[in-house]
Symmetry: C2
Subunit: 308 residues, 2 copies
């Protein structure tokens, strides 16, 4: 395995400004080419129209447009379904991708710190995530197995075009703004990733923890709805900002307009993420639940050994 | 003076969810009618189309559409310029308004706490603001004299339809979400306003500080732009979240993509507000500057006496 082409992608959601600003920053401040001699770096603005209009998407969510069946379905004709096919030409094609590793920069209104979202838990990805976590504070590793998300062995996310890489999800931050602190987290995590690959490509030692915690996607949870199908509650103060914290049975999760409190009834202790994410209101989604696992890593083995 | 008709307005900017959610909350939880026997309460969703679409506005900013000359200009035909004329019929008409007092609920991505934004500094408004500040934590009073904003003796804001009242600006909060803590601040400030009016109408004693600090609008400050007229910098970490804090000469205010730092060169110590507000990026506005003043209030005098 050698990583020769890397793409840093921003603006997949046009109102998440951290990505496009990071691309501008990297154009001006990326360390000299000599620092990274083993790979090519492509800085790619994925949804320029949505970015220009300061909207998540124009017609459809671009970051749900990369299922193989959709990439080969030419009857789909929205702006984003066309754009996805173009990106598949530029960075892909999916499963025979000319890009070895993609980092797709996202932001969230939820309190998710620096979340590395993996759609492929191959050993290099896990080692890379562990390395970033080892070097940057406030990092979480969130793995979305394809079956739990799409029910099939495929992912609709842009970074599923490449075998290696992840979506970098930063928050909390409003849409349509840039914050220095969040931008620097994106910058530091990206440079850590590039440093890891450069060392690996050169056969140098790379230090990381050989046991990591990952949060594995289980399911989404909807807001309570009224008889018209409209959201009839808000996130209870007890769980606001409590992303990646254990959610016990009996904890209040929603408060309805009439004052009724809704409590969590899950027997298993899950770990919520994307709590109160602005982009999911239109789908009535309040948060997602994950299961915390420990995974043992090895340097040269592609098998993943679950510890817990 | 007696206040007989009050309107609580939400959704003037459709992606600021706190207002519409407050209206829903008040419908379910407003204290019994007996509590407020001296006025009628109108709960009014001002821009339903923008709220439904989760956008600030459809065609134009509704909260800049209430200048007298625009309300009487029938050649203006955007969604919001029509909607403003309808609202002027329902809540106004401006200067002979059937609504005595309007609270227009807004939210901001800036760290502005609970800001009472006055467009009219008549004594009742100042007393009301002082009363709310006396009863609710984290309240600031921000006055926008018409001349500093429009250059004429008129305001484009919705709440300028009524002689009394204010815009309530709450933050920081992303657009398109509701937070319990912010919603409760809006609820508490609104109920404090209603309690004040009820007591005044009944001739009861009302307690408030007779000297208040107000922040008076001076001007807006733009981001540095590149040669293409695009924003070329971000808010410097030194001033992020520093709304209402004194801004000294020489303090760093922007950092450009190439690393150059831009410092503040104002000789007077102003107090910035709306720092990093998402809605102003498209106008290239980074923040506004205000001047802090103390004002002496009296119970029965409509003259305002500046102290400092």
């Amino acid at each position: 395995m050698k990583i020769q082409k890397i793409a840093i992608v921003g603006g997949t959601h046009g109102n998440e400004y951290t990505g496009p600003y990071l691309l501008n920053l990297l154009k001006k401040r990326v360390p000299p080419a000599a620092t990274y001699s083993t790979f090519e770096l492509n800085l790619f603005l994925s949804n320029p129209k949505a970015y220009k209009n300061n909207v998540r998407f124009v017609d459809d969510d671009l970051n749900r447009s990369f299922l193989k069946e959709d990439l080969s379905n030419y009857s789909l004709d929205s702006y984003e379904s066309n754009r996805a096919k173009v990106i598949n030409q530029v960075l892909g094609p999916k499963e025979q991708s000319k890009t070895d590793l993609i980092i797709d920069i996202h932001s969230t209104t939820a309190n998710m710190g620096v979340s590395i979202i993996l759609v492929n838990d191959n050993m290099l990805n896990l080692q890379l995530a562990s390395y970033i976590k080892y070097n940057i504070p406030n990092v979480y590793i969130y793995y979305i197995p394809p079956e739990t998300y799409t029910g099939k062995n495929d992912h609709p996310f842009l970074n599923s075009l490449a075998k290696y890489g992840f979506a970098l999800e930063l928050g909390p931050i409003p849409n349509g703004v840039v914050r220095y602190d969040i931008l620097m987290q994106a910058y530091d995590a990206t440079l850590a990733c590039l440093a890891f690959i450069e060392k690996k490509n050169k056969g140098l030692d790379v230090n990381f923890e050989d046991e990591i915690e990952i949060y594995e996607h289980v399911k989404t949870v909807e807001f309570p709805l009224n008889s018209d199908g409209k959201i009839d509650a808000f996130i209870h103060e007890n769980i606001q900002d409590m992303d990646y914290k254990p959610l016990e049975n009996g904890v209040s999760i929603f408060e309805k307009f009439d004052g009724e409190v809704v409590v969590n009834h899950e027997d298993e202790i899950f770990f919520p993420v994307f709590i109160n994410e602005a982009a999911y209101y239109y789908k009535n989604i309040a948060f997602s639940l994950t299961r915390k696992k420990k995974i043992k890593l090895s340097m040269n083995n592609t098998n993943v050994t679950p510890v817990v």
